[in-house]
C-alpha cells in the first residue's frame, strides 16, 4: 500500500474528483433540473394562490392572470409566468462570491478559523452545488451552515452560540440565529453524501519546502535512480540565484514558498482545483507558478527525466496551473454580481425558500399554536402540505390527494 492507494480509497477521490467534461456535464444537468423545478414550483404556488382566492371570493372560475405577481418578470399569453432562470455560469459566479465570503468571515475575529478549516468549508459548498442549484438553496444560507459544519468536522468546535456571535459580530447586525445556522445542516450533509473529509495541499507543500531546503543544503537523501551527489544537487540549486550563494537560494525558496501558499489559500480554494486535481498536483502547480526553475529542479530529484511519467506529470501540473490562474482576487465584477443576485431573487424556488420553517416542518413535531398573521399562517400551511406530499411519496401513506397539486 502506498500513498496513491490511500488517496484512491478516499472519498475525495471516489466521490469528489472529476474530469473537466464530467464536471461541466454534472453542473449543466443540475442547472437544467433546478430550472425545471423552479418553473413547476412557481406554477404550483400560483395555482394554489389563485384557487384560494377564487374560493375565498366564491367566484366560479378564478381569474388566474389577475393574481400573478406583478413583479414576477412578465406574464405570457397563456397565464404562465415567464421565469428567467440562472445559467450555469451565473450560478458559478454567485457561488464563487459566497465561497470568497468564507475567506473573509472564517479567519476574522472573534474565533478566527485556520485556513485549512475555512478551506474545507469552501469545498463543502462547492460539493453541495454539484447536485443543488442556488435557485433552490441560496448560497448565503449554505455558506453559513457549511462554516459551522466544518467547526465540527475539522476539530475547531466552538459551539453554536459562539458561532452565531461570530457571524453577528462580523456582519455588525443581530440577524443570524441558531435556527438559521442549523436549518440547512441536514441538506448539506445529505448532499455531501455524509462524507466530511477534505484533503488539502497545505501539509504537502510544507514537506516540499523542507525537502528543497535540505537539497540546497546538500543534506537531501537522494533517491536510488539519482546518480548525482547531494553536493552536486545543492550546486544546481545554488546556481539558480543571481548571487550564487546558499543564502540567496534559500531566500528565493522562501519567496517561492510564500507565493505558492498565497495561491493555495486563495485560487486553489476558489477554483475547481480540488475537484479536478490531487493535493500534490495542486501544490506542485502552485510552486511551478511561483518559481518554475526551482520547482523543476525539485522534480528532477523526484522522478528521472527519462521516465515516461515525467512529461505526463508536467502536462498535468501545467493544466492545473491554468486552473489556478483562472481567478484573480481583484477582478470581482460587482455590478455583474448585483445583476445576478437580482435575477436570483426572482427565480428562487418558492417551496425551498424558508429553510428554517422547512427544517421545522421536517421534524414533524412542530405545534402551530397561538395567533399567526395571515402571511405566516399561509406559509406554514404550504409547508405542511408540501410535507404531506413528501410524506406520501416516502412512506406510502394513505392521505387523500392534496388539493393544491390539482
Amino acid at each position: 500500500m502506498n500513498e496513491d492507494d490511500i488517496y484512491r480509497a478516499s472519498t475525495q477521490y471516489r466521490l469528489w474528483s472529476f474530469t473537466p467534461e464530467k464536471l461541466a456535464a454534472l453542473r449543466s444537468s443540475t442547472n437544467a433540473l433546478a430550472t425545471e423545478r423552479v418553473k413547476a414550483a412557481k406554477k404550483r404556488v400560483r395555482l394554489a394562490r389563485a384557487q384560494q382566492l377564487s374560493s375565498e371570493k366564491s367566484a366560479p372560475s378564478g381569474d388566474v392572470d389577475a393574481n400573478t405577481p406583478k413583479n414576477g418578470g412578465g406574464t405570457a399569453e397563456d397565464g404562465n409566468e415567464v421565469i428567467d432562470c440562472l445559467t450555469v455560469e451565473e450560478e458559478l459566479k454567485i457561488i464563487a462570491y459566497y465561497c470568497q465570503q468564507c475567506l473573509s468571515i472564517g479567519p476574522a475575529e472573534p474565533h478566527p478559523m485556520p485556513s485549512s478549516v475555512v478551506g474545507s468549508a469552501i469545498q463543502f459548498i462547492k460539493r453541495f452545488y454539484l447536485s443543488n442549484s442556488p435557485m433552490t438553496y441560496h448560497p448565503k444560507d449554505v455558506m453559513i451552515a457549511a462554516l459551522f459544519l466544518v467547526t465540527k468536522t475539522d476539530n475547531f468546535y466552538i459551539g453554536l452560540d459562539k458561532y452565531v456571535d461570530k457571524i453577528n459580530t462580523i456582519t455588525g447586525n443581530k440577524k443570524m440565529t441558531r435556527e438559521k445556522v442549523l436549518a440547512p445542516e441536514f441538506l448539506l450533509t445529505q448532499a455531501l453524501r455524509f462524507t466530511f473529509d477534505v484533503k488539502h495541499p497545505f501539509k504537502g507543500i510544507r514537506g516540499a519546502y523542507y525537502e528543497m531546503l535540505a537539497m540546497i543544503r546538500g543534506k537531501y537523501a537522494l533517491l536510488p535512480f539519482d546518480e548525482r551527489t547531494p553536493d552536486q544537487v545543492a550546486e544546481q540549486f545554488i546556481d539558480l540565484s543571481d548571487a550564487k550563494s546558499k543564502a540567496a537560494t534559500e531566500a528565493r525558496l522562501s519567496k517561492a514558498y510564500n507565493t505558492a501558499q498565497e495561491t493555495l489559500n486563495f485560487s486553489a480554494l476558489l477554483t475547481d482545483a480540488y475537484l479536478l486535481y490531487t493535493p500534490p498536483q495542486i501544490y506542485l502547480a502552485a510552486l511551478l507558478l511561483a518559481d518554475e526553475p526551482l520547482t523543476l529542479l525539485f522534480l528532477d530529484a523526484k522522478i528521472p527525466s527519462s521516465a515516461p511519467l515525467k512529461p505526463k506529470l508536467l502536462a498535468t501540473l501545467r493544466a492545473c496551473a491554468n486552473v489556478l490562474t483562472s481567478i484573480n482576487a481583484h477582478d470581482v465584477d460587482r455590478a455583474d454580481l448585483v445583476r445576478i443576485d437580482k435575477k436570483l431573487h426572482l427565480c428562487r424556488n418558492p417551496e425551498k425558500k424558508n429553510l428554517v420553517n422547512l427544517n421545522k416542518a421536517q421534524k414533524r413535531d412542530e405545534l402551530v399554536e397561538g395567533k399567526l398573521d395571515d402571511n405566516v399562517a399561509k406559509k406554514r400551511r404550504m409547508e405542511r402540505e408540501k410535507n404531506e406530499r413528501e410524506g406520501d411519496a416516502l412512506f406510502g401513506g394513505a392521505l387523500p390527494a392534496a388539493t393544491k397539486t390539482k
Binding site: 490511500i6 414550483a41 465540527k152 476539530n155 421536517q362 414533524r364 410524506g391 416516502l394
Partner: protein
C-alpha cells in the same frame, strides 16, 4: 421499527425532492431494519439486512437526538462518519452506508459482527480458554487495524477491549470512532479529555496539547497486557489514582526518562525519594512471561513513558515477536463465545471514552500479583 421503510423506491415521481434526498431514500430502501439489539443514551442499534439479499446482515446504528445538545449533528456522529467513510481495512469495522430517517437522525449501516468483543473473551475466565498463540493472533489484528488508522493520519483515541469487535470468521475489528480525529496541524492544540481512563497514556493526564499516534499505542499496550493477565493491568479509580497506578506499575515519569515532561501543563513534580524507577524486564517477565521474551520486549516498548520513544504502529508490525514461535492461531480457530449479537448492540450504543457504569468499582482494585507467578 417506526422508520423502517416498507415501500420500495416509489418516490422518484415527487418533483419536490432533491437529488441528494432521492439518493438518501434509495440508500434507506436498500436495507430492512430488524430487531433492536442495543439501546443507550447515545444510539440505538438494530440488526438489519439487505432488502434484496436477506442473508447479508448489517448492524444499523441510529444516532439519537441528544436532549442536552442543541447544536445540530453531534460531534460523535460527525467524527465516526467522517473517519469510517475513509477507512477501509479488514481490521476496521466497515461502514457500508449512511442515511437519515425522517426525523433527521443519522443512521450508520455497519458491518455485522456477531461474535462479541475481546473484553468478553478476556473476562469470561470460567468458559473461555486461550493461549499465547491466540493472544498473538488477536494482537496482530489490533496492530494492523491501528497501523492503518495512523497511516491514514487518524487517531482512534478510544482503544479498549470492548471496542474490539469480532466478526463471524474470527477477525478482530476496531470499532467506535466517536472520539477519533485526524493528526493535528503542528501548532493547534488538541483535547486531552480522550481515551477511557485505564487505557489513557501519561501524557494526556499531564495535558500535553500536542500528541501523536503514541496515545493509541499506550492503549494497545494496555490491551496486550489485559489479554495476558485476563484482568485490566492499570485500573485507576480516579484520574489522580490512575497516574499513581502508572507510576507504580510502569515507573514515575521524570526528566531523565522523559526529557521535557516537567514542562507539561499538569505535571506534578515528584520528590526524589518518591520516584519509582521504570520497571525492569524481569518484572515484566514475571507478569507477562507467557508471551515469551520477544512478546515482553514488544509490550515494554508500548509502555515507554516518553511518547516520542514509544514504539510506533509500524514498529509493532516490524517487531521480531511475530516471527518467533508460536505462530499466531488462524482466525478460524480462535476461541469464541456465543451471544455476541446482543454484545455488538451494547458496544455500539455507548458513548466514547467512559468506563461502563460501576465497572471501576467491580473490578478488583489490585491485581493478585502472587497468583500470577508461574
Amino acid at each position: 421499527m417506526e422508520d423502517s421503510p416498507q415501500e420500495p423506491s416509489t418516490a422518484a415521481v415527487d418533483p419536490t425532492i432533491d437529488l441528494s434526498e432521492q439518493l438518501n431514500i434509495e440508500t434507506r430502501n436498500k436495507y430492512v431494519k430488524g430487531k433492536e439489539i442495543g439501546s443507550g443514551t447515545y444510539a440505538f442499534v438494530y440488526k438489519g439486512h439487505l432488502r434484496d439479499e436477506p442473508n447479508t446482515l448489517v448492524a444499523i446504528k441510529k444516532m439519537k437526538v441528544m436532549e442536552n445538545y442543541k447544536d445540530g449533528l453531534t460531534m460523535d456522529a460527525v467524527r465516526e462518519t467522517k473517519y469510517l467513510q475513509e477507512l477501509s481495512h479488514p481490521n476496521i469495522i466497515k461502514l457500508y452506508d449512511v442515511f437519515t430517517s425522517k426525523d433527521t437522525n443519522m443512521n450508520l449501516v455497519l458491518e455485522f459482527l456477531p461474535r462479541g468483543d475481546l473484553e468478553q473473551l478476556i473476562h469470561d475466565t470460567g468458559n473461555v480458554r486461550y493461549n499465547s498463540a491466540d493472544t498473538k493472533a488477536w494482537m496482530g489484528m489490533v496492530a494492523r487495524g491501528i497501523w492503518f488508522c495512523h497511516e491514514n493520519f487518524v487517531l482512534h483515541r478510544d482503544l479498549k477491549p470492548n471496542n474490539l469487535l469480532i466478526a463471524a470468521d474470527g477477525e478482530v475489528k476496531l470499532a467506535d470512532f466517536g472520539l477519533a480525529r485526524s493528526f493535528s496541524e503542528p501548532h493547534l492544540a488538541m483535547s486531552t479529555e480522550v481515551i477511557t481512563r485505564w487505557y489513557r497514556p501519561p501524557e494526556l493526564f499531564y495535558r500535553a496539547r500536542q500528541y501523536s499516534g503514541a496515545v493509541d499505542i499506550w492503549s494497545v499496550g494496555c490491551i496486550f497486557a489485559e489479554l495476558i493477565l485476563r484482568n485490566a493491568f492499570l485500573p485507576g479509580q480516579t484520574d489522580i489514582d490512575q497516574v499513581e497506578v502508572i507510576c507504580q506499575r510502569i515507573g514515575t515519569p521524570t526528566e531523565e526518562n522523559w526529557p521535557g515532561v516537567s514542562k507539561l501543563a499538569s505535571y506534578v513534580p515528584v520528590a526524589k525519594d518518591k520516584v519509582r524507577p521504570v520497571q525492569p524486564k524481569s518484572y515484566y517477565m514475571q507478569l507477562f512471561g507467557t508471551v515469551g521474551p520477544f512478546g515482553v520486549d514488544l509490550l515494554m516498548s508500548m509502555f515507554t513513558l516518553d511518547p516520542r520513544k514509544r514504539v510506533t504502529a509500524k514498529g509493532i508490525l516490524d517487531h521480531e515477536y511475530w516471527a518467533k514461535d508460536p505462530r499466531p492461531t488462524d482466525k478460524e480457530n480462535l476461541p469464541k463465545k456465543g451471544g455476541g449479537e446482543k454484545k455488538m448492540g451494547e458496544d455500539l450504543k455507548r458513548k466514547g471514552g467512559v468506563l461502563e457504569e460501576g465497572k471501576a468499582d467491580k473490578v478488583a482494585r489490585k491485581i493478585d500479583f502472587g497468583a500470577m507467578k508461574k
